[in-house]
Structure formats: C-alpha cells, structure tokens
C-alpha cells in the first residue's frame, strides 16, 4: 500500500511531536523537576513507521520502554506522558506506580510491560496464539532492543511463534548500545535479523532511520502474518543519540565524534528532507509544525504541573483483579 501524502505528513508530525516531548523530558530532568527519563531520541522513524503499518485498535502492540514515539503514534497524548514523568495521579499507564515510559493502553491493545528486558516477548507469542485459536486476523507487533535479544526469553518467544506459525512481528530496534555495551559484545552475527534463520523464520534488515522504509518492511511482514503465513523478525538499525537514561553518562564509553557523526543521520532530519524533496513540506511549514509541537508540549507540562499526586494509600490497591471494577 502506498502511503498518501496526508499520511506521510501525519507520520512526520508524530515523529516531531515525540522528539520535542522527549527533549523536554531531558530538560525537566536537568532542572530537577523529574526523577528519571529514558529516551527514544533517534528511534522515532522505526517506531512511527512500524505503527502505521498495523491497524490501530484491532492489532496488538507489546512495546518496550524506549517506544515513546510509538505510543504517541498509537494515540497517547503528551500530557498523559508528562503525568507519568511527574508521577501524577492521572497517569493512565499505571496510576503512577511504574517508572515513566513503562507503557500500557488497554483500549488500544497496547500491553503493559515491565523493566526486566525481553519478558514482553513471550506475551506477544501468547497473544498471537490466542488470535490463532480464535481464527482471527489481527497481528501482534512487539519491540525490543538489540541487547535484550541476548535473553533466552526472546529466543523462546520467537521459537514458539515459529513453531505455531503465529501472527507476530518481532521488531528489534537496534540502536547499537545496551547502556554501554556495543552490539559486537551482544552477538556474533551482524544483525539480530540473522538470528531468525536459526529459529526458522525470515529475518529482515531495514534502515531504522528512514521512516517510510521501515513502514514498507513492517507492512510486508504484517500482511504475511495476517494471511496466516507466520511470524517475521525485523531489525531496524539506528543509533541511540542520547545516553541510555537520565542516570547515564555516555561520555564514559563512546566518543563525541561518534555521536556527532550519527546526528547527521537523525531520523527527524531525514524525514523532513524526504518530505521537502517530494514537495510535501516547506521550511515555513516545518517551522509552524515545530512551533505547534513545542506549544503542545508546553500545554502538557502545564497540565502535568497542575495535576495532583496520588495519595500514599492509593498504593494499597489493586493487587488482585477482584479489587477492580471492570464495569
């Protein structure tokens, strides 16, 4: 399916909004206003390209903690994210129980995940199993960093999906570092996609800095999965342009020259250039969009600041499903 011009511009807008929101989180942290931020800067193309290849609300997303742009693409608002940054009561992902960026949106089939890496992967296979049992044609998109593909849980999840031909897309966001540890210390293969072969699945590599290329690659895998042709492993390679988290200092393990080099491949810049080349965007329009994104982030922070904290005793429940009114 060829993307309409309107959709291309929408995808760019989502990337830009996620970027400005992510940048603001860093500022809030440096101002001492939030305790923690884990960033997705540099990964927006892969995340937004992937979401536009699935059917929102029908398909399932099992994300990981770097997927801010993915969640914005799924419909999470900037103010909802800011609520989690600030630990405020209206945080819809967890009622401010989880650290920020531990996402969940039940109404959009975005599954809650945790911090121990790769634990989400078997859940994606289990959801795929449920879909297959019911004879449905929904698909499951699940994401993970390249470092976490070292975990047995990821291999077991991919293996199960392969054995049962489940409608699951295992997207590996290879940002080249797991905190300080580079890819070559995680795996002896050149790409996480190469691991798929040993598990009986196709492994696809795509340039994760180019949003429309990612979209095309994911869409092909989604259509295969929807047609009952099983799972795919896709590696989208990009570069983590920020430290691992607000508690990390990447100067201790990589040079500034290396980071600067990759900033030339910033997916926001690449998408902007692509749209300008296609005549879909002008510099003026870009400035307007950028201002709009910054304004929305300002509004979100304002809403976050005005929102109440949860009460301490709100932490007592719910532990069991009986304590929840699913009305």
């Amino acid at each position: 399916m060829t993307l309409s011009n309107a959709l291309k511009k929408e995808m760019f807008w989502v990337m830009l909004l996620a970027r400005r929101l992510d940048e603001r989180a860093w500022v809030l942290h440096r101002q001492g206003k939030i305790a923690f931020h884990i960033s997705g800067i540099g990964q927006e193309a892969a995340q937004v390209g992937a979401v536009y290849a699935i059917k929102k609300g029908k398909d399932w997303l099992v994300p990981y903690y770097r997927d801010l742009a993915m969640l914005i693409a799924m419909g999470m608002t900037p103010s909802e994210f800011v609520m989690s940054l600030l630990g405020k009561a209206p945080d819809p992902t967890s009622g401010a129980r989880q650290m920020p960026s531990h996402f969940s949106m039940r109404h959009a089939n975005v599954v809650s995940h945790s911090a121990p890496v790769a634990t989400q992967s078997p859940h994606a296979s289990g959801i795929g199993l449920g879909i297959k049992m019911d004879g449905g044609d929904a698909v499951v998109l699940t994401t993970i960093g390249e470092g976490a593909t070292s975990q047995g849980e990821w291999y077991e999840a991919v293996n199960f999906a392969a054995v049962h031909k489940l409608p699951v897309i295992f997207l590996v966001e290879n940002n080249q570092y797991a905190i300080s540890v580079p890819q070559e210390k995680q795996m002896a293969v050149n790409s996480a996609a190469d691991k798929a072969c040993g598990l009986g699945l196709p492994g696809i590599k795509v340039d994760g800095t180019r949003v429309f290329e990612v979209y095309e690659a994911i869409l092909e895998a989604v259509e295969k999965a929807r047609n009952g042709e099983g799972a795919t492993v896709i590696e989208a390679k990009m570069y983590r342009l920020t430290p691992h988290s607000s508690d990390d200092d990447d100067r201790s393990y990589r040079t500034r020259e290396e980071v600067e080099k990759h900033k030339k491949q910033d997916p926001i810049i690449l998408a902007k250039e692509a749209l300008i080349d296609e005549g879909l965007l002008t510099e003026e329009e870009y400035e307007e969009l950028d201002q709009k994104a910054k304004d929305e982030v300002d509004e979100a922070v304002k809403a976050g600041n005005e929102a109440p904290y949860p009460k301490g005793e709100d932490a007592a429940t719910p532990v069991y499903a009986e304590e929840v009114n699913h009305g």
Binding site: W60, V62, T93, S94, G95, R97, Q98, H102, S104, R106, V111, S112, S114, P116, T119, S121, P122, H123, A124, S125, G126, I127, G128, L129, G130, I131, M133, G152, E153, E156, A157, N159, F160, V163, P318, V319, Y320, A321, E322, E323, V324, H326
Partner: protein
C-alpha cells in the same frame, strides 16, 4: 459418590472446565498425545484437539510466558510444569509479570491463569524431582497459592482456580496422586473457594497445621496418638496465599498448642509465616512454644532410599512431634 484418586480428580476438573468454557486450554510438556507424564491430562487431547491441549517446546518459561500472553488476550490457560523443580526458568515470568500485572497497570490488565505443578518428595525422585517450592511463591502479592490434599478438594479448588481472574499457583502432592483416594460426587457440579482452610479433624489437646501430603500424614499420626489419649485437631491449610488466619487462630484458641508440618526446608519455609501469625495474634492463647516439623536444611531430597527417608517427614515423625508437644 465415586472413589477416585487425586490425579483423576485433577483430570476431571480440567476436563469439566474445558467443557464449560472454550477459552480454557492446557499447555505443557507431554500433555498432549502422552496425556502427561503423570497422566493428569489423559483423554483431553482426543476430546479437545491439539489446539487446546498444546504440547509445548521443552521450555518452562515458554509455557508460562506464552500462557500470560494468552491470558492477556482473553484466554484461560492451564499451564502444566512437569515437576515443580523445573519451574525456576519461569520464575521471572511469574513474579515480574503475572503477579504484578494488575498492580502495575492500575487494574487495566489482568492474568487469569493456573500454573499446575506436581511437588514434593518420597518418590525416589532425588534432588530435582522432589522439591517443594511453595514458599517462593507464597511471598508474592498478586499470586494465589493453593495446595490440595485430597481428591474432593483438588477437584473443587482447581475448578475455582481456572475461574479465578488472577494467576493461581496450584501445587499438587505427587506422592499422593495415586495413593490418596476419596469420594467425589459423580454428577454434581461443585467448587471449593480459594482462601478458607479446613478443620479436618476436631481435637482438644493440640493443633496440627499442614497441607498436601503432610496433611494426609498428619491425619494418620493423629489416629496413632489418639490411641494414647492425645486428642489432636488437624487443619488443612489448602490455600497458602492468601492465608486463612482466622481459622488458624480459632484452632489455637481452642487447643493452646500448635505444630506446623511441611516437607519443604525448615528455614524460610511456609511454617514460619504460620508461626508468626500465631505469635502475633494468638500469643495469649498459647500453653507451649509453637513447633515446626519440616524438611532439614539441606539443598534437596537425596535419591538413595535411606537418605530420602532421613529427609522426609512421615507419620511417625509427626506422631513423635505431637507427643513431645503434648507433654510440654
């Protein structure tokens, strides 16, 4: 009423629940064509097919992790871990994921699933086919931990576990699978609620608190000492988490002496929680120190018969502990 053994009661519970709700399915190693290494799923594969009785890869975290995903989707998985000793690869999935899902999503997501595992020693299983693992899980809010001691309870509790909207750890005393028999209604639907303990023998002199195989042995020991004039009350805990404190304390109020029995290691074992419960809320009712009779603090049950028997708690050892406490 028909007399059946423990494993048949478990099989019947799964069969009836699969019949009742098409979202219920079984996943585990050898549960399909083979009908389970302990035969707990015999006949289910033929009746419900390979889509609902799934022979999993030989990987316990797959069984539980995939089960969690299916439960999030809306299915009702019954995950079989072939021996409780092999549950540890799935520990992360159970403790980090299943147990915390309701809490971490503020109630948006929940994980209705049962994890069944045969546990316990005395069957020549050595270190890795004999372990009791309940204490690891009875520490974790968000889980429920159930251990039946007889066919009637096993069937009724397992049916409740399948219908429960939370992850339920269901540990089955494997030594009792064929040894423990009991009456179970043939044509009458029943369930037993998760939570309440049960006084299975009324007595005045002291209370024995046990579960699973040790409850079976405790009843035998109680009969033995009854001939010597010691009148023992036996309480089958049945659900370890959440624990039925009221039934425990009520029994202590009546007898003033408490002996807790389990085959898991003594230190950090589940008995400590019961002892603390009695010490905290029943201290003024006590006429003697709370006693625990448990497996020794060695890593696991040895294979060779004499060493296995040295490890295992049995009716004679329980009777001795009862006599000792009664004489205090």
């Amino acid at each position: 009423m028909a007399e059946i053994n423990l494993v048949e009661a478990i099989r019947q519970a799964m069969d009836e629940e699969m019949e009742r709700d098409e979202n219920v399915f079984v996943i585990g190693e050898d549960v399909g064509v083979r009908g389970g290494v302990f035969r707990a799923t015999v006949g289910l594969f033929d009746k419900y097919g390979e889509e609902r009785v799934i022979d999993s890869p030989l990987a316990e975290l797959t069984i539980v992790g995939v089960g969690i995903g299916a439960a999030l989707y809306g299915k009702r998985p019954i995950c079989e871990i072939q021996f409780a000793d092999f549950i540890y690869p799935a520990f992360n999935q159970i403790v980090s994921e299943a147990a915390k899902m309701v809490y971490r999503s503020d109630g948006a997501w929940f994980v209705p699933m049962v994890i069944r595992a045969p546990y316990g020693g005395g069957i020549g299983g050595g270190l890795y086919h004999s372990q009791s693992v309940e204490a690891f899980f009875a520490h974790v809010p968000g889980l429920k931990v159930v251990i039946p001691s007889n066919p009637y309870d096993a069937k009724g509790l397992l049916k409740s576990a399948v219908r429960d909207p939370n992850p339920v750890m269901f540990f089955e005393p494997k030594k009792g699978y064929r040894l423990i028999k009991g009456e179970v209604p043939e044509d009458e639907e029943y369930t037993i609620p998760i939570g309440p303990a049960k006084v299975t023998r009324e007595g005045r002199d002291l209370s024995v608190f046990a579960y699973g195989m040790m409850h079976h042995y405790a009843l035998q020991a109680a009969e033995t000492v009854a001939e010597e004039g010691i009148d023992v009350e036996v309480v089958d805990l049945r659900t370890l988490y959440p624990v039925d404190r009221e039934t425990i304390l009520e029994s202590v109020r009546k007898t003033s002496k408490a002996l807790i029995v389990h085959e898991d290691n003594l230190t950090g074992g589940y008995g400590g929680e019961i002892a603390a419960t009695i010490a905290e809320w029943g201290f003024m009712d006590l006429d003697a120190p709370v006693r625990r009779l448990a497996g020794p603090d060695v890593p696991a049950v040895p294979f060779s018969h004499p060493m296995q028997e040295w490890f295992m708690v049995n009716p004679d050892k329980i009777a001795d502990a009862i006599r000792d406490l009664a004489a205090f």
